[in-house]
Amino acid sequence: MNFEIILHAGIATGSVLLFAAIGEILTERSGILNLGVEGMMLLGAMAGFGTSLATNSAWLGVAVAVLAGGLLSLAHGLVTIHFQADQVVSGLSLTFLGTGLALVLGEGLTGQTPPLLLDYNIPVLQSIPFLGPALFQDHGLLVYAGYLLTPFTWFYIQKTRPGMHLRAVGEKPAAADTLGVNVYGLRYLYVFVGGCLAGLSGALISLSVSPGWYSSQTTSGQGWIAIALVIFAQWNPFRAALGGYLFGMLRRLILDLQGPRLLFGLVNPLYVNSNYSFFLIMTPYILTIIALIFGSRAIAKKRAGSPSALGIPYIRGERGQ
């Protein structure tokens, strides 16, 4: 076990959370809470894996996964934006729907071996001492895309005109509407983008990070962790990326600690027998709760962070907020 390997693996697994969390940040910034990330992710993982198997093209798989996640999210969009239904319940049903669809359509995919996404090295950058090999060697292109997506999303939300509209729709939809911003249209757009990114993160799991289709074990709750990450990150892409990578490293660390091997040359004190690994498997979920406690306290203290119209349907013609 060495730190470089943990960092390398953490970046890869963390990218899964990163894409899903950034998608959810965009959706929530527009005022729509989508709790269906787990369902969209699982559908994406299945769609990507299945498509790659059928067409022999991993990238086509990624494209179909993105589309599948996006299309599924539109169901949530329709129900919450036009039908003004409760966003929590709709998000939950989306999880059921996505999970069910993925399991039904993914029947028989277990054990198959489709072409996977390839790993690449980034020239020049990979020769940076220590960080180079961990950050710029043997990662999929999507992991590198994640490096760019984070600052891009931040810039887009904070500094561009469409980003300003996005924030306006999530903070004061009535005011945005008066100024001619298409509230419904933009909310649909960002729900869709969020769904696409969740689908993408699913494909990243099944085609690159931990390749394979293991029915609902494929995502094993990572969609929910991504939602927790959004709250922890206080809707900031940089914090989401940091949290995602840290979480990814933690997952790898847990995997290493499970082995009965030596720890830094000493006997691993955590190893009694293999059954004790159940406690290690618990830790990411416990840490998610702890991270949430800190995130929520910070939000409560600052009274800021959460988009003010989050979760509230916008009904044209009714007294706005």
Partner: protein
């Protein structure tokens, strides 16, 4: 000539409409599910008749359906209490496992001597099941009340935690000859079943229905009473409908969040106890095919009415029974998702009148 859809807000909602939309949602979900099933290569009509046979075919299989409905009734009621306050307890699955663990402690430690009377052992198991389920509900309630931590995520994370916790005990400490389950409980820890009275009543022979179903009915009555007549029930409803009004009325919201979550968790824990004491008779892996999640949909479909939860649970129990036979396994998840989606979408029909209006070129 063109048509346009016009919506008008309803002033008065016809009494039959909510029920009609609920039933309509289920029917349409079955049709959609059938279409998807057909696409993946199944035979939906055959499956439907199979479904009927497997669920209501005769007294024996119907009793199996009721056995599966039992945890759903209790969990549905548990969810309804929390949802009335708009507290999203998605952790009934975990609270169910926690309850099962608590009840197992009674037998496996053992907390009471196993030659004590059945009433004492069963009573203790119920108590421990409710305490452990209650703790598993208290934690997210406390975190929400104290630190405003989103209960949806904490309850879900706690599901994963308790399942791994139970696995540790099943795989390690309590493992029966290396199998991933505990030894079968002593008969004193089994809930009475109808089959136990086969000597007196011939028709009961082989009928697996156990006392847990009575727990479910009693839980429904108690919760109905709480909402109908008690001050606490009124507070819960007021907080759910209008938290600001509740705050101005001097209701302690934080206290109620903790209480309701613990109460909801305790009920779900009771469901876990009833399942291992009435059906499985030991602690093992996967004692629940997602009862905790199905219970959410049951509660919602029943519009949070404790009595409606009973028949709805029977329907969903049928889905679970049939789902065991019909492959692929995801189908019942899929159906549940579609039902829930249609149901919340159909609320728009309750709030608005939707009419197709003919518009002439000239008036446009």
């Amino acid at each position: 000539m063109a048509f346009r859809i016009r919506t008008e807000q309803r002033v008065e909602v016809p009494k039959w409409l909510p029920t009609a939309t609920s039933i309509g949602s289920v029917i349409i979900a079955f049709i959609l599910g059938g279409v998807i099933f057909k696409i993946v290569g199944g035979k939906p009509l055959q499956a439907l008749s199979f479904f009927y046979q497997a669920v209501f075919g005769n007294w024996g299989v119907f009793s199996d359906t009721l056995v599966k409905a039992t945890p759903l009734i209790i969990i549905g009621v548990a969810c309804a209490v929390a949802f009335k306050m708009r507290l999203w307890n998605i952790g009934a699955e975990g609270q169910f496992y926690a309850g099962a663990f608590g009840a197992s402690l009674v037998v496996l430690v053992p907390l009471v001597p196993l030659d004590s009377p059945k009433v004492l052992v069963i009573g203790m198991m119920m108590l421990m099941g409710m305490i452990f389920g209650g703790i598993w509900g208290f934690i997210p309630g406390y975190l929400k009340a104290k630190y405003k931590v989103n209960e949806i995520i904490t309850t879900l994370m706690l599901n994963y935690i308790i399942i791994n916790w139970n696995n540790f005990w099943i795989f390690d400490q309590w493992s029966d000859r290396g199998f991933q389950m505990t030894a079968t409980f002593d008969r004193v820890a089994w809930l009475p079943r109808l089959a136990d009275y086969a000597k007196e009543v011939k028709a009961f022979s082989g009928v697996t229905l156990h006392l847990g179903v009575i727990f479910g009915i009693i839980a429904a009555i108690i919760v109905w009473w709480i909402f109908r007549y008690s001050r606490w029930g009124y507070e819960i409803k007021l907080i759910g409908d209008n938290p600001n009004a509740a705050r101005y009325a001097g209701i302690d919201i934080s206290k109620n969040i903790i209480l309701v979550m613990a109460f909801s968790g305790a009920l779900a824990g009771l469901a876990g106890m009833s399942e291992i004491s009435g059906v499985v008779h030991r602690l093992q892996e996967s004692i629940s095919p997602g009862y905790g999640f199905t219970g959410i949909i049951v509660a919602w479909l029943a519009k949070l009415n404790p009595f409606t939860i009973i028949p709805v649970s029977v329907l969903f129990a049928g889905l679970i029974v049939a789902g065991r036979e019909i492959q692929p396994t995801g189908l019942s998840f899929l159906l549940q998702g579609i039902i829930l989606f249609l149901l919340i979408s159909s609320d728009v029909l309750i709030r608005y009148k939707i009419r197709l209006v003919r518009v002439d070129k000239e008036t446009e």
